[in-house]
Amino acid sequence: MAPKRGARDGARAPSTAADRPAASSLRGDVTVVVDLGGSSLKLCVAEDGATATRSAPNASARVKASDGAGFVTLRGEEIDGVVDVNGLALRRPCDRGYVVHWEQQREILDDALRRTLGVDPTRCDLIITEPPFALPRTREALDEMVFEYFGFRRALVTTPAKLTKRFADFVDAKKRDAKDLCVVARSGVVLDCGFSFAHATAFVDGTEVPRGIKRLNLGGKALTNYLKELVSFRQWNMMDESAVIEDVKEKMCYVADDALAELEKCKAKRGGTVKREYVLPDGIHVLRGFVREDSANKRPKKKVPKEKKVKIPKKDEPEHQFLTLVNERFMVPEVLFHPSDIGGRQCGVAELVTQAVENEDLSNEAMRALAYLDVIVTGGCSKFPNFMERFERELRPLVSESYMLRIRQMDDPIQAACLGGVDIAKDREFFEKHALTKEEYLANKTSIRAAHESLEFEPNVRTGRLREYAATPNLKKLDKKRIIEDCEKLTPSFERDIIHASA
């Protein structure tokens, strides 16, 4: 275990550089991509290609040392290796999606960069994400961490939505028609259902629409805590078992087509087909919980030899504790679609997309039509089974019939943003044009700070914040006429205003 680093004076890079592993053994001259999420860090070296992305919890945990003496602090990837997950309490540097504990964040990132990736930050370029509308002080702290603590040569700060869009249009699109209308028009909506919140971001002409970014204050963390509350009231007290419940949520929850109909199913004897049992980890025989396979349908049928049935499993396996979920399995993700079910005042994710598109910045019919043509869904919460089907069913009635709706999900919703960053890093010209160098940062510190303070959405000073997700594509063969034609083809009842869109 590494000695505890000087966390308090972390801002001064030279003093802390001394007790780190030798810089000579680490790699330089590469571009590091970091997606700084509320739940996990996704990071990779762009030069290694898309297969090298790593994911580690963006958290630290204090656990008992293996030799039994005292406690040790684990960070990032080390947490995945914890033997006994019972009572594992994670401390996260993020609160409501934005980093607030910067010392902790620095330590976690430091570990991830030097140990996991094995790079030397002072000789690397960086692409890092920050949620939209970060507060001025959060932005300053990020800049400070990137340039003064780590000392990256050049950095680009962007939002996960832009990177996802980039990935969806330039890498993922190869599977589809690369000359697809939305790729050419660089428009669409990205719905990112993350750990701390869900963001819907509308894009027009390659840039985010300022008023087209809408946030639903519900994410994976809230769902986990909600499940924790339900389970604690109904079965076992699991209030201290966030890590376990997180796993339960990921393995057992799904999105119902129609929650009320599904509830009726649950009223069948013994929970009907919905009921599943989760074997809780006990730290000795079961280290990681799992869903019990045979619990669903067998029991009600084999009623007669009941006494035998009870005895046999006890001999086979040590006495496990089960967590039985019935309607919790779908009522928890249901909250994303109906936040009012737990008393939230905001709309659900489907309506969130319509709010993002139908705002005053997108008054133009054509722009809205183009935005609805490419709805990209990403983020960990979109991994619930049946999420996409339900989302489409909810969204379609909310959107005017004159707009065509195309929805696609990222293959890997968690890594998508990171992979988009890899693509930007490969586009050296674009990267170098938009990135902020360390020298520029140090020279213009006050003006950058002023730009953050002024809350300008698109700062006029170069702050290293990315505005567009991609440079204008080559439109030699794909002229505006083609956009108009395609748009008309795809949205039948759509005639007017299209000229404005291309103007």
Binding site: R96, L216, A222, N225, M239
Partner: protein, 211 residues
């Protein structure tokens, strides 16, 4: 005896430690005067009688507050069990007791500052811990940033929040078992679906909610 009582705004605000003792005693004396004047045969003894907590109706403002606190607790990493860690202002209010002054008008309740178990609840460690956490939350940062003073029309964190849904009234689910709930608790407004769930609710959640 009619136990239905309306918690007046002053009393409600006193839940958050706003109303002073003088306020309460003023209310008591005023109530006493009125009660003496009324000729509906009320007994004139000054004996105060406690209303059990279970009969105290929780007003709309408090219900909203509790609901918001619950949502807020979903955003935290550490478990916050209402009533055990004393999250929010819920602690002091518990020491106030609702007391019926028999001289008072029908249904008028007075708060008497309780003396019992004042220092018992929060240990120093907990209090200090809470203070340390409070200084480093996103909400604290948000307050310090004054982005609510940004010129109108500037898109900020606050304006980016999604608006309410256009869909109709919220659906109602049983707070005990999760099925659809046609009934609501008369005291705290939480939903339940059956007599059985109602009993569980009354036993476990209803008291906890305000406590």
């Amino acid at each position: 005896m009619d136990f239905v009582q309306d918690v007046t705004p002053e009393l409600a605000s006193s839940r958050f430690g706003v109303a002073s003792a003088s306020n309460a005693s003023a209310g008591a004396s005023a109530g006493g005067a009125l009660g003496g004047a009324s000729a509906d045969g009320a007994r004139k003894s000054g004996r105060a009688r406690k209303i059990s907590k279970a009969l105290r109706r929780v007003d709309a403002a408090t219900r909203a507050e509790v609901a918001a606190a619950r949502l807020d607790s979903f955003e935290s990493d550490v478990a916050i069990v209402p009533g055990t860690t004393g999250e929010g202002e819920g602690e002091d209010e518990d020491d106030d007791e609702f007391v019926f002054n028999e001289n008072a008008r029908d249904g008028e309740a007075v708060i008497v500052k309780g003396k019992k178990k004042a220092g018992k609840r929060t240990t120093r460690g907990v209090a200090e811990n809470r203070r340390a956490v409070a200084a480093r939350t996103f909400n604290a940062l948000l307050e310090q940033s004054f982005i609510d003073r940004a010129p109108e029309g500037t898109p900020t964190y606050l304006t980016a929040a999604a608006g309410p849904s256009k869909a109709g009234a919220p659906r109602k689910f049983c707070s005990v078992c999760g099925f659809q709930a046609p009934y609501g608790c008369a005291r705290c407004g939480m939903r339940f679906c059956s007599k059985k769930c109602s009993a569980v609710h009354a036993e476990t959640r209803c008291l906890k909610m305000v406590g």
